[in-house]
Point group: C2
Chain length 496, copies 2
């Protein structure tokens, strides 16, 4: 259809999953040293002049979603004729002293509000007022537009590998919106397409389209049926689950990547296994302070870990290619080493089975179900999967990046919450650091900073265990050599 | 009912009128000189310590709204056991240079997002980073909680008339939430109350409660019936009307009060008449630049002017007591003096008829209609009234006020938009200045700053005409005295 492109079923599901309380945007914050270009208005203008020409090759960023009448088919992307970059790249500042805490509060507030669906589904804040003249870029993009990895690729595409600021073009963009199809166009095109499909699907589409009451009833029956199934197999409730509210709380922490590598080298597994073991330890400590017995089997938790299933040839394409691993966290295990061993065993078993629960189910369903039905099924099936929290881990570059001549000091990702979830952890690595971003429902889990400290504690237990084991093995294998203490420990960026 | 108090029908209507796109919060910004208490965290802590004890006498500020099952009756206020002042008094900062423009952008963004209904319906931002060390308080409160005037009274109750900072109590508050009624309590209490009402109403309530399908049908019929009526008598469409979006644009301007007084003295009428004449001039100029012929009778505009009908004995009570004047703006009139004369004639006629269209109608209806029905009727009837923009004018103190020892330099009000509206003007006077706050739908009226400049132009035309008339009359009546030029003209606060 002229000027309109259907959302992939997976991308559409992120629109359908969004409610008043659960906003499906993701993002991250990038913190920079002072720029040679200057600060304030001058820096903002330079940033807009860098970004605007790039939008020519990223059409989504000037497109908005158009929904079909009666939600009879998947929504489409159409050019937004009223697109104005100054509504998407915004200026902001932190109150004094402009440290981590003030930045985290600002991010909490930005991620508490839904993106306006009548505009392209992204925002970027140029934040000044960070301590020591630093500044930050905060990205917020709808998950229907990008997944965690393609989001990251776009951000890194903006960045330079050289401290020299690139030439900033001084040309006005020549972009012109293509004419958008009318609602009737969209409806006709959708019906036309259905005619090419198997007869059974066509009949069902006709029935639902011609009889709104029957559609409503079908939806109610489907939803209640799925809800009943969901009740029987859902993950156990805990303080980190319950009705999700609108407001978010966000904190971040940083860990030296070398410490993760040490644990991995000593005990085996992947960085991601170590992350999950640290999180399991954090959950164990956190639940104990909330009068939940972590040793009781019925309080066990399931973590949903999105895994990219895109191959290298798809790296440039936008959109989502995700599989979901569902990992039971061994929080009933008091010993950190044993926690890691159990995480490894679970993840290895899931990988061997190529388990990609949820994603495939959704993709298959979404291909033909009327859109509203799909929304309800998507919600119900995610509940049915039964997970308690999301842990998502995206590797980043281990070399320095620059923007407008300013060095990127560090970057933290921001995840999102599904309905019924109150905690999600996103992880991003850069320049020898593993950066954790914790997003919580501000009312359900108001002490997300405490949770973050407990994950730190869970990880430090692992590091201590790994060091003890390494020292012990070195003594056993080479008893004459002194214990190695020479592992270089990276200096942390100043914590403020 | 224990721990629950019904909203007045008028207050409830502001909840019902709220949609995803039209948020019914109002507020204002107060700009202060530097405080002797300091800035940043220290000032914020002092402000919280001033505000928190005052909440004991303003119970609404710790209460949230509870809705009845099936919206069968008016919602009630209940104490929020999770109330936490740090979720309501927030810190923020402006980007450099911290002038009017940056402040206006910040306000636009804050007023673009809906208040969270699961919390007490207010927010206050302590904003730093204004030029010359100034800082600001931004208030945002749901219209269901306060009207423009009681909002103002609460704000001024916070302020001091003395530059000496008042003693800041160093005690923890002893407030405890009262137990909230359960949904069943609310429903039973509502039904019990209905039993004391006339039989006909009871029957209708029982019927709608027992038959959701019939209720839905009744709502559809009512809504479509009212919509049909509305179509026939609604005010003419113009660029400042149309579907309302979520995003707001906000600008403010300032006028010397003496200039308004001069116009009023020379031509007669009230300050409010002069305001409406200036706005009429602004609309005339603005429409002309948008290819609308202001001289064409069919492009005439209606302004809705809320007028307080509370008497002095009610000043301490919260809630809304409003009547609405509907003033046709003489935008087809090229001469500013004639515009004012026509505004005066219209307003005098309305006042003589004690016209209070809308408000009474809503109040009467709301007393017994099931709540959802009421919401639809409220929306339909406001459309039916047929107005194009809102102009609301609240007088403020003409003596200096202080907060935390800092002098209040100036204050600007923020209005709200009804469904279908794209422009609202709120006016507040303080210390010899009349301060205009213009709120627009950011997509429908993106050039609200242009509109504000045209109102300024419309007003300057009036001032010039008044000066000419005064000078002429002085020459005629006292031909031997030289023209008076001695009227003291107040020095404007620096414009940044």
């Amino acid at each position: 259809m002229k000027g309109a492109q259907k959302l992939t079923p997976m991308d559409a599901s992120f629109l359908h999953l969004e409610t008043r309380n659960t906003h499906m945007h993701i993002g991250g914050v990038a913190i920079f040293e002072p720029s040679p270009i200057g600060s304030g208005e001058a820096l903002y203008e330079a940033i807009v002049r860098v970004i605007e020409p790039r939008l020519d090759v990223m059409p989504r960023y000037r497109q908005r979603v158009a929904f079909l009448p009666l939600s009879l088919d998947t929504p489409v992307w159409i050019d937004d004729p009223e697109f104005n970059i100054s509504s998407h790249v915004l200026r902001a500042a932190l109150p004094a002293p402009g440290g981590d805490r003030q930045l985290q509060h600002f991010i909490s507030r930005v991620f508490s509000r839904q993106l306006d669906r009548r505009r392209p589904l992204w925002e970027m804040y140029v934040i000044e007022g960070l301590s020591e003249g630093r500044w930050a870029l905060l990205f917020k993009t709808h998950h229907a537009m990008v997944d965690g990895i393609s989001n990251l690729e776009l951000v890194t595409a903006l960045l330079d590998t050289d401290p020299q600021p690139r030439d900033i073009p001084d040309v006005r963009t020549t972009w012109q919106a293509r004419g958008a199809p009318t609602p009737t166009d969209l409806l006709l095109s959708s019906l036309r397409e259905r005619l090419t499909r198997p007869q059974r699907l066509l009949r069902s589409a006709r029935q639902t389209a011609s009889n709104p009451t029957r559609l409503a009833k079908a939806l109610r029956d489907t939803a209640s049926g799925l809800a009943t199934v969901a009740q029987t197999i859902r993950a156990p409730r805990s303080v980190i689950n319950g009705p999700t509210g609108t407001s978010r709380a966000y904190v971040f922490t940083r860990f030296p990547l070398d410490d993760f590598k040490l644990v991995k080298q000593v005990f085996g597994g992947t960085i991601n296994d170590v992350v999950l073991a640290a999180v399991a330890g954090g959950v164990r400590h956190y639940l104990a302070t909330h009068d939940v017995d972590p040793n009781d089997e019925k309080n066990a938790l399931q973590a949903l870990c999105p895994v990219s299933i895109r191959d290298e040839s798809e790296r440039a394409a936008l959109g989502n290619r995700l599989a979901l691993l569902l990992v039971k966290l061994p929080i009933d295990e008091a010993n950190s080493e044993a926690r890691l061993a159990r995480v490894r065993a679970t993840v290895d078993r899931l990988k061997a089975r190529k388990q990609a629960v949820g994603a495939d189910f959704l993709l298959n369903l979404a291909g033909f179900a009327p859109s509203t039905l799909h929304a309800m099924v998507a919600r119900a099936s995610l509940r049915q999967i039964g997970f308690n929290l999301v842990v998502t881990n995206v590797p980043g570059p281990q070399f320095p990046l620059y923007f407008c001549g300013a060095r990127l000091v560090e970057a933290f990702p921001v995840a999102f919450l599904y309905e019924g979830q109150r905690l999600a952890i996103a992880i991003f690595s850069y320049m020898g650091w593993l950066n954790f971003g914790y997003l919580s429902d501000a009312r359900g889990v108001p002490d997300v900073d405490l949770f973050a400290r407990y994950v730190e504690k869970g990880f430090k237990e692992l590091v201590r265990a790994a060091k003890r084991r390494r020292d012990f093995e070195q003594q056993v294998s080479t008893p004459r050599r002194p214990t190695s203490r020479s592992r270089p420990h990276r200096k942390a960026p100043a914590r403020r």
